[in-house]
């Protein structure tokens, strides 16, 4: 918690916070990183298999094969999410399943399934992008800034 917020709390609460901070279970960083590395690496390995498949059979190039690969991976994610496998792997792997594009797919699909009971318009339609929204919003905004700067540099300075 930020220090500024802490000052406004009564002394008992401050004491409690110091107490609980001491007792907080240490997260096993090295072990978690190792798990994330192997699971995340494995997902990218599968991605590479799919990429190679598209390059050999559908005449994509190394640069363009990323798109169909993404779509295929998200399709596989739908199955894994629907059958409840993805959550179980996610608990084990942490960031290993969040960082690859399958994590993005899982965030969208899981909230779509979860909010189905609220109806298809107000539930599925409006809640689907709740978790994935920030990724799209700030991805687009930062890409806009970067592309704008780059365009100016290339156009007006011959950079």
């Amino acid at each position: 918690m930020a220090d500024k917020k802490k000052k406004n709390l009564p002394p008992e609460a401050q004491q409690y916070q110091a107490f609980q901070q001491k007792r907080e279970t240490k997260r096993p960083l090295f072990k978690n990183c190792l798990k994330a590395f192997f699971v995340g690496g494995f997902i990218c390995f599968i991605g590479q298999l799919i990429t190679t498949f598209y390059i050999y059979f559908f005449n994509f190039t190394e640069q363009t094969a990323g798109n169909p690969t993404t779509a295929t991976l998200i399709f596989l994610t739908m199955l894994a999410t629907g059958f409840g496998i993805y959550d179980r792997i996610g608990q084990f792997a942490g960031a290993g399943t969040t960082v690859p594009v399958t994590g993005f797919g899982n965030a969208v699909i899981a909230s779509a399934i979860e909010h189905r009971t609220e109806g298809f318009i107000m539930g599925v339609g409006s809640s689907m992008l709740k978790l994935a929204g920030p990724v799209i919003v700030y991805g687009v905004f930062s890409a806009f800034i970067v592309a704008l700067i780059k365009t100016f540099l290339t156009k007006w300075s011959g950079f």
């Binding site: 990218c44 779509a71 969040t98 594009v101 699909i109 806009f144």
Partner: protein
């Protein structure tokens, strides 16, 4: 060989994410947002494309490639049509990820029921 590098580079991206989770105690949404923004910046510096050539799916599967391809589409369109292309070309390359997520999300909601 590209399979090996895809595994290693993809794995390293996930380790960076795990460090953000555990050391900086960020939520998954914060982590993904930061990674997407850094993907866009890396493309701006011209570093992401060599990484794709080197690691293949190791660079295209992590969420950083989302930021990369947003900039990529915007730049390609900007070269053809000038400044307005930055806006019109934004989703040119990225569309597959978002449309796949939305389409399969709806299909998933039709087929599956929430558990628990």
């Amino acid at each position: 060989m590209i399979f090996f590098w895809a595994f290693v580079v993809g794995g390293l991206f996930c380790v960076i994410g795990q460090i953000m989770f555990d050391v900086f105690k960020l939520s998954p949404a914060h982590t993904l947002t930061i990674l997407v923004v850094s993907g866009a910046v890396l493309n701006g510096l011209g570093l992401y494309e060599p990484l794709i050539d080197f690691a293949g799916a190791g660079a295209t599967v992590p969420i950083t490639s989302f930021g990369n391809s947003l900039v990529h589409g915007a730049m390609a369109e900007a070269e053809a049509h000038g400044l307005i292309g930055v806006i019109t070309g934004m989703f040119e390359v990225t569309s597959s990820g978002i449309s796949a997520a939305i389409i399969f999300g709806v299909i998933g909601a039709l087929i599956f029921k929430a558990k628990g």
